[in-house]
Amino acid sequence: MSSASRPSTEGPERILTYAQALNEALREEMARDQSVILLGEDIGDYGGIFTVTRGLLGEFGSGRVIDTPISEGAIVGSALGLALTGYRPVVEIMFVDFVFVASDQLFNHVGKARYISGGQRAAPIVVRTQQGSGGGKGAQHSQCLEAIFCHVPGWKVVAPSNAADAKGLLKSAIRDGNPVAFLEHKALYFQKSPVPTESSAIPLGKARVVRGGGDVTLIAYSKAVELAVAAADQLAGEGIMAEIIDLRTLKPLDLDTILESVTKTKHVIIIHEAHRFCGFGAELAATIQEKAFHHLEAPVQRIAALDVPVPFNRTLEKTVLPRVGDVVAAVHASLGRGE
């Protein structure tokens, strides 16, 4: 499957922010396909609160970049109506926390549209939103809700960790033809990384091996990939070579890449920023033990946020979130090395 690589695929690179890369993906897909239209709060004149849709209103006009009222249920519901009349809406939900406002339309309607109609309906809808802790945003603006989208059938779920992936995966999400939850991370928007000039769509369902290593597998996605990389750097100093897998897409899951690594390293640590209990890591851990139990030399471990609403206070917020030290300690425990 995937081999160790840098985020980019080929060709000359530019250094872009995650937000700029997403903007390019939207611009290119809108130019490529007239049926792609954007809906969301403050996405037109304002350009999106994280600047992702900046400039698109001027370029494509108010028939394709549509500022909506603050009505998440009606935004998502009307996106389904648009999809049923030949459009490919890309919806921006400003904070993932607001998907609960739209949850009836997301989960009872959009995700089930195709199935319950016996394949008559298609719902080529991308819901772009951003999640995670951004430093003091509080409990209603800091959640990570990927597990919700993964749990209810009908949604594909993407969580890119860098600019090149953000661009390539968004292009695939828009072309996919199914409902896709595209979960960006608010703390990544202004981080810069290389993006290929001639960037193509990155297929959904393909993980990326960020770094090869034979001693332990660190599985992460979205911003938690940073934690994995920092921990791996630290572990390398101790002579422990960690292999890092960036899942990129959570559903469908690239199980082949995971199992290939797990059967090699026999030690697995899963890292995510979402809460631990019933988090995506629980699904991964269960699946890994079902498929590769006899290859494992230690229990699969999860590094995740505490099961506490994300507090405002700086110290408490840091306490809730997973840290590099937690990852390093988990690796030591897995390998049977005392601190």
Partner: protein, 342 residues
């Protein structure tokens, strides 16, 4: 974008004229459709009682004039969204009796290949974008379809059926605002059958007339006798004309009554028998039939319609019974389509 065209006068020539709204409805045809819906519902109830079909069953007996009159005022390619009490709506829009029975039998030949069932009837071929099992769930979808029609400049309209109980849901108000803000060709059709499930509307709504709820968004509201199919047709036709002329949405409140329970097995302890009896005397089929007689339609002709419809229904039941069940190995089919990445 509609936002910027709000309340502007319609531009002459921008609208393709459609003749449907100007036609007097053919009461014989309307009666036939209402009778078809009534007999389908009664037959479904029998089949449910005999355990030939299962799940849940929300009948619209007594409300046939609303969906029949409203859909008659729409063109074939206009859109509707419906509710879990949606058998009548999809039949009125043109779904075949066979496809409805087969779906309720859970068969592969059903309009949703047996995956949807009674509450979720969808038939894109006739413009039914889907019925919803969630109160008010179909409303924003119809708004999106109206926006799609506007953006595509195809002059279609979108009509959403919902009950009076749905007007207490947040998404109803969100949708009404959005449709008004963008001046969309969307018709909000409230079937007020007086009971939100098992509770009288006087205990649920702060206003007497649901049509009044349009005023908060600047949407004109019209109240119509929902048991008079011709009145429903005329009222809807006016709203359609407005919508096609880019004059924006209308909320229609059709006062009606369901003569059976909220769902199969509802003991109906919440309403007096005298009330039900009084509404039985205003049964929309009786109202239409009396009017047919007044207009000189012979009872033989009506009987002939009845016999034709009965025969069609029995044929459809046989068709459904003989249709194959979906295969277990195809249980995951239709969750996702194949990606269209090139």
């Amino acid at each position: 974008m509609p936002k910027h065209t709000k309340r502007k006068a319609p531009s002459p020539g921008a609208t393709r004229t459609r003749s449907v709204a100007n036609h007097q409805p053919d009461l014989v045809k309307l009666y036939r459709k209402m009778y078809e819906i009534r007999r389908v519902e009664e037959r479904l109830e029998e089949l449910f009682r005999a355990s030939e079909i299962y799940g849940s069953l929300h009948l619209c007996i007594g409300q046939e004039a609303t969906v029949t009159g409203a859909c008659a005022a729409l063109a074939a390619d206009d859109y509707i969204t419906g509710t879990y009490r949606g058998h009548g709506a999809t039949l009125a829009k043109g779904t075949s009796v066979q496809a409805v029975f087969a779906e309720l039998f859970g068969r592969e030949t059903g309009c949703c290949h047996g995956r949807g069932g009674s509450m979720l009837l969808t038939d894109l071929a006739v413009g039914n974008l889907g019925c919803s099992g969630i109160v008010a769930g179909g409303i924003p979808i119809a708004v999106g379809a109206a926006l799609g029609a506007r953006l595509s400049k195809n002059n279609r309209v979108s009509l959403t059926f919902f009950g009076e109980g749905a007007t207490n849901q947040g998404v109803f108000h969100e949708s009404l605002n959005m449709a008004a803000l963008w001046n969309l060709p969307c018709i909000f059709f409230c079937e007020n059958n007086l009971y939100a499930e098992m509770t009288h509307i006087s205990k649920e709504a702060s206003v007497e007339r649901m049509a009044d709820r349009g005023c908060a968004c600047g949407v004109p509201g019209v109240v119509v006798d929902g048991n008079d199919v011709e009145a429903v047709y005329r009222t809807t036709a006016q709203a359609v004309t407005r919508a096609r002329a880019e004059q924006g949405p209308t909320i229609i409140e059709a006062i009606t009554y369901r003569l059976t329970g909220h769902m199969f097995g509802d003991p109906q302890t919440y309403r007096p028998k005298e009330e039900v009896q009084a509404w039985r005397e205003r049964d929309p089929l009786l109202v239409a039939r009396r009017r047919l007689e007044d207009r000189g339609i012979k009872s033989e002709q009506v009987e002939e319609i009845h016999q034709q419809v009965q025969a069609e229904i029995e044929e459809a039941v046989t068709f459904a019974r003989q249709s194959p069940e979906p295969k277990s190995e195809e249980v995951s089919r239709y969750v996702f389509c194949e990606p269209t990445v090139d």
